[in-house]
Symmetry: C2
Subunit: 180 residues, 2 copies
């Protein structure tokens, strides 16, 4: 029982952080602010999430779950269309994309608390997309493009719209498959 | 004279940091270690570079200069070949790629000390590559792929080799142009 309640509380904290990142952006979503919203002291929050990175990884896992539930896809055209929709969804939630981008960038150092999450996530998404796109190298490329487009867009929302560049990739990948 | 000497000293510090990142990786290149190598106290180093980010941006600018001096290119085939060579160079210097990836990720937050550098760099490189690749959207995509491939490779050097995925993109872009 205690464990179930603890799990509920964790979920409540993650939802609060997720919402706050959407409302006020990544840098302003401090542990103190999240704690206040769920009625905990900062010490109390650290009991559930020892570091800010632990909480942010939980937020990104929640995003992953929400996205997957909307994206049961099959075949290369289907998956590229689903990913284009995901690009549009991401363009409407810069706070979450910021969280992902900062944490993914930092995770490449040894011993970073989010490294295991990202290493596992990329391997899993590569394998998943490879099923639809036909090979793992194309999957790796498509994921890379999505990540890199987010960086340029966050730095220059007017000048580096993600969707046209993703559409260009989808067109090239589609044409590449047609030529095989 | 004082200014010239100050500039020399700055250059010496940047070269030392650049070399140390190559030798021992990004997380182990602390301001204290760089200061020691150039015979300064940490306080003395902060006189030249007030924050670690300032020093790292200077290191990345140095990398940019070295890369550009090796890459006078013309035409889409030429530029894609030059970029493939750059991918190989990057695969041989994970410390610098780590520095770039961490800093680029962090730079997307407002007010980050490296934000101006990255925003300016992406706009400049997009315009530069657009000249060779024919349009800015393809340039944006190619840059995005390079950045994203670095993230996956740093997290999984065995499983996510950059070169095959970049070659796949180069092939698709080349085929796309041939079809136009």
């Amino acid at each position: 029982m205690a464990t179930a309640r603890r799990g509920d509380r964790r979920g409540e904290i993650v939802r609060a952080a997720f919402d706050m990142i959407g409302e006020r952006g990544y840098p302003n979503t401090t542990l103190a602010a999240v704690a206040e919203r769920v009625g905990l002291t900062q010490q109390g929050l650290l009991h559930y999430f020892p570091t800010k990175e632990d909480l942010l990884v939980a937020v990104l896992r929640r995003r992953d779950e929400l996205d997957v539930s909307g994206g049961a896809v099959a075949g290369p055209a289907g998956v590229l269309e689903a990913l284009a929709m995901l690009v549009d969804v991401n363009a409407s939630r810069p706070g979450i994309v910021q969280t992902f981008t900062v944490l993914a960038g930092e995770s490449v150092t040894d011993g970073h608390p989010a490294r295991a999450y990202f290493a596992e996530r990329y391997a899993r998404v590569r394998a998943l997309l490879a099923e639809s796109l036909g090979d793992e190298v194309t999957a790796q490329l498509v994921i890379a493009a999505l990540d890199g487009l987010q960086i340029q867009w966050l730095l220059d929302p007017e000048g580096a719209d993600m969707r046209p560049a993703f559409d260009r990739l989808a067109e090239l990948v589609g044409r590449g498959r047609a030529a095989e």
